[in-house]
């Protein structure tokens, strides 16, 4: 049996990991959870963010700052992507969504292969003062890079939750998923609102991508396993629930941490995908969804 | 008068919101029943419970004496309940004829030349015969509405629910659809009509039921319903 000490350490690490997973899934929570866009390319854009951070950090800028600097760039990318998706697919409502799904899947593959062609399949890392050392409290060691990611995660989640509940645009975004008609009556343009939301979701990806490469090395094929982690968090939380994302992330993080400690790292992918499948089977609306 | 449909204290909730709270109505065989009520009163929800689009409601629904509450929508269609949709849902990759052959195949069990001839008859009755081999995504609004009814007819229903089949149509088009519904009723089909166009409801219905906030607030002949103060309040507000 595993010692209580080790279990506790796994749980603590899982909390840090979980917040990180929650932050990384926020973009998907908005794009898919609120807007209903079949955004399977979200993890690919996450990895793209990591690679851009990698490139930018070579100029000496701290990775977190790189991430922040990339956010407006990704915001524009997000708006363009949504506009394109809307004009090409959503407008012509006759299709079941096969085309939309196939489109984003294709985009994800194209991004991944282009990254391989440009950067190769080797792992890339960034360096910073907080990467490599740990904080020691008692017998436990908390890697600084995890703490930094944890901090950014909390910051991002709080920021987004406040935005969606306090600002007009934010509340409009929350509403557009549920009742477009009412929104139109209020004088807001649903397409512009959705565009804004998608832009925000992609911008968040930039910072999340920076977090990803801070937390560990990155390689092009990582978008595949992150499909599992991000969709697990969003489904577990329930579509449309932003605050649920944090809880869901924590559950996933702790579960993965414990499994990795007991069964080994090779079982990690099975945790997120298994949890995802389980939720779809027994409670598809998630823990907090509508 | 024989009862064809018995709706017994049906309650339907969506999360915390109660869409129907204890609806009770008996529909008679061969009747022309009108169902009215302001937006959000629960008309479409009630139809969805009857047609089987929702099966998670409380209360019981009996059709021709049998409890159909546990049956899925396609099984209810096979028993004889057909409906049209508020926003037409054509099988857009198929021609009009192929649209009708779907219920022929799955309710009647056959889709051969005989059924194609029957389908042409139905289309002729609706004035759609010349569009039989046109792809359904090229039809106009009123043609789509007629095709909805034609497709419902291809299922050989005993009860037909027409969900706002006339919404957005011009005066002439409304009359066309009304005439079709009258003809179908003459064939012995019980018809429940949901409509906002009051003249159509008054002209068509033998009996009218008014729904508001999930409850039946009034039931009677068209003339009485129009005069009823509760109905006026429901539509115009206090």
């Amino acid at each position: 049996m595993i010692s209580l000490d080790l279990l506790f350490e796994a749980v603590l690490f899982g909390i840090l990991l979980g917040c990180f997973y929650a932050a990384v899934s926020l973009g998907l929570s908005v794009a898919f959870g609120l807007l209903d866009v079949p955004y399977v390319a979200h993890p690919a854009l996450l990895i793209l963010g990591s690679y851009f951070t990698f490139l930018l950090s070579k100029t000496g800028i701290d990775p977190i700052i790189c991430g922040l600097l990339l956010m407006p760039v990704f915001y524009v990318i997000g708006i363009a992507l949504y506009r394109f998706y809307y004009e090409t697919f959503e407008r012509r409502s006759s299709d079941t969504g096969v085309r939309g799904l196939a489109f984003f899947f294709g985009i994800a593959f194209i991004i991944e292969v282009c990254l391989i062609l440009v950067f190769g399949v080797d792992q890339r890392t960034v360096s910073a003062t907080y990467i490599g050392s740990s904080l020691e409290i008692g017998e436990y060691r908390f890697p600084y890079r995890m703490l930094v990611a944890f901090g950014i995660a909390i910051f991002l989640t709080t920021l987004l939750t406040l935005y969606f509940s306090k600002t007009f645009n934010g509340r409009a975004i929350k509403a557009v998923g549920q009742d477009e008609g009412a929104l139109r009556l209020m004088g807001a343009n649903p397409v512009k609102i959705k565009q804004l939301a998608f832009g925000i979701a992609t911008a968040v990806n930039a910072l999340a991508g920076a977090m990803l490469i801070i937390v560990g090395p990155v390689e092009p094929a990582m978008d595949r396993i992150y499909i599992g982690r991000t969709f697990c968090v969003v489904v577990l939380a329930g579509l449309g629930s932003m605050s649920g994302t944090l809880v869901a992330g924590l559950i996933l993080g702790i579960a993965e941490s414990i499994v990795m400690m007991t069964l080994g790292a090779s079982w990690a992918p099975a945790v997120s995908f298994g949890l995802l499948l389980l939720m779809l089977g027994i409670r598809p609306q998630g823990l907090f969804g509508r | 008068m024989e009862t064809i449909l018995e709706v017994n204290n049906v309650v339907k909730q969506f999360g915390g919101f109660t869409a129907l709270s204890g609806v009770k109505v008996n529909v008679h065989k061969g009747e022309r029943l009108g169902l009215i009520g302001p937006n959000g009163s629960g008309k479409t929800t009630l139809i969805n419970c009857i047609s089987g689009a929702f099966t998670d409601y409380e209360g019981a629904i009996h059709f021709n004496g049998q409890d159909i509450s546990k049956l899925k929508a396609h099984e209810r269609t096979k028993r004889g309940i057909a409906r049209s949709f508020q926003i037409p849902r054509p099988f857009s990759s198929m021609t009009v004829m192929e649209n009708l052959l779907v219920p022929f195949a799955f309710v009647g069990g056959k889709d051969g030349p005989e059924q194609q001839a029957e389908a042409m008859e139905i289309l002729r009755g609706m004035g759609l015969a010349d569009k039989a081999f046109v792809q359904s995504n090229q039809l106009s609004q009123v043609e789509l509405r007629k095709m909805e009814l034609a497709r419902a007819m291809a299922a050989k229903p005993k009860l037909l629910i027409s969900d706002e089949a006339m919404a957005g149509l011009s005066g002439n088009e409304v009359d066309e659809v009304l005439e079709i519904l009258f003809d179908l009723n003459k064939l012995g089909i019980t018809i429940i009509m949901i409509e906002h166009i009051m003249q159509a409801v008054m002209k068509f219905s033998e009996r009218v039921i008014c729904l508001d906030a999930g409850k039946i607030i009034c039931e009677g002949t068209p003339e009485n319903i129009v005069k009823n103060p509760d109905v006026q309040r429901a539509y115009l507000g206090d």
């Binding site: 079941t96 899947f105 282009c114 992918p269 995908f273 089977g281 | 396609h74 269609t77 099988f91 497709r151």
Partner: protein, 291 residues
């Protein structure tokens, strides 16, 4: 390997994609449910073949049948879990199955685990000169078989019902179509055919290992080929597979492996945006305009 043998070697792969594209299209094209987890079904076919071969020295035919049955069961299971939900949940679930099964197989020493397993081909060549030629013939039979099945489905009640489900599931249900049952049937058949395509692979390679078998690249090809060829008719996946798989073989041999995935990805996006009815649709339009 001389050029002659290579043609059979490459031909096997191309025919395998004909089966995969046809199988995918039965659920994806006819019914509108997108399966992203194609490698899971291929792998079930392949690993079932390995287990049957290793345990009872089962002949190829038995391996193929076994692979098909188990892959069909996987299709049924995934369908039961998720076909009641919206399409995208089914798609995500299929990805989940790939990773879960891959993890299981990686920890299963009997079939080689993460390092893989070497297999010795049996000596039985029947009437052929080489084992590769025999496998090519087998795959050709499987390709003809799957296309026949797709053609039969398309013209049957099942095909009519699937098309109705794809166009409007609600209206289909109200027209008497047992939508869940029909989707499950399509999902099972589709899965079984993918398993059948995967079963001869261990013998083809004399080797099996999880990373290549569970590679998601299969998904982009298996869904790209029908979409590019045309999803509404059984001949679409055939055209798409023959065309694209041949291009892929050429690219792999002359340039690189990664590039062949890029080719499919780019063509897929181009077609989905500009020519949603695929090559078949383009042919139809060209015929109509030249009248």
């Amino acid at each position: 390997m001389n050029v002659n043998e290579y043609i059979f070697f490459a031909g096997f792969v191309i025919l395998q994609f004909v089966v995969l594209a046809t199988a995918w299209n039965i659920l994806g094209g006819y019914a509108g449910y997108v399966n992203f987890g194609v490698p899971a079904f291929i792998a079930v076919g392949a690993y079932t073949a390995v287990v049957l071969f290793k345990s009872i020295s089962a002949p190829l035919v038995v391996q193929i049948i076994g692979g098909g049955i188990l892959a069909g069961l996987l299709g049924l299971t995934v369908g039961l879990l998720t076909l009641k939900l919206r399409g995208i949940f089914f798609s995500i679930a299929t990805v989940a199955v790939v990773f879960i099964l891959e993890t299981v197989v990686m920890n299963w020493r009997y079939v080689g685990g993460a390092t893989g397993l070497q297999l010795t081909r049996p000596q039985d060549l029947w009437i052929f000169d080489t084992y590769t030629r025999m496998l090519f013939f087998v795959m050709a039979v499987l390709a003809i078989g799957s296309v026949s099945i797709a053609r039969y489905i398309q013209d049957s009640f099942l095909g009519r019902g699937l098309r109705a489900v794809r166009d409007s599931e609600e209206a289909a249900e109200c027209s008497g179509v047992p939508t869940l049952k029909i989707k499950l049937i399509a999902c099972t058949i589709s899965g079984a055919l993918m398993g059948i395509a995967g079963a001869p692979m261990p013998m083809y390679l004399s080797y099996i290992e999880p990373t290549a078998t569970f590679n998601l690249n299969y998904s982009i090809s298996a869904l790209g080929m029908p979409i590019i060829g045309g999803t509404s008719h059984w001949i679409g996946p055939v055209i798409g597979a023959l065309l694209l798989a041949t291009i892929q073989q050429v690219v792999t041999v002359t340039v690189s492996n990664e590039l062949n995935v890029l080719v499919v990805g780019v063509l897929l996006v181009l077609f989905v945006v500009l020519a949603p009815d695929g090559i078949l649709g383009l042919i139809k339009k060209w015929k109509q305009s030249s009248k």
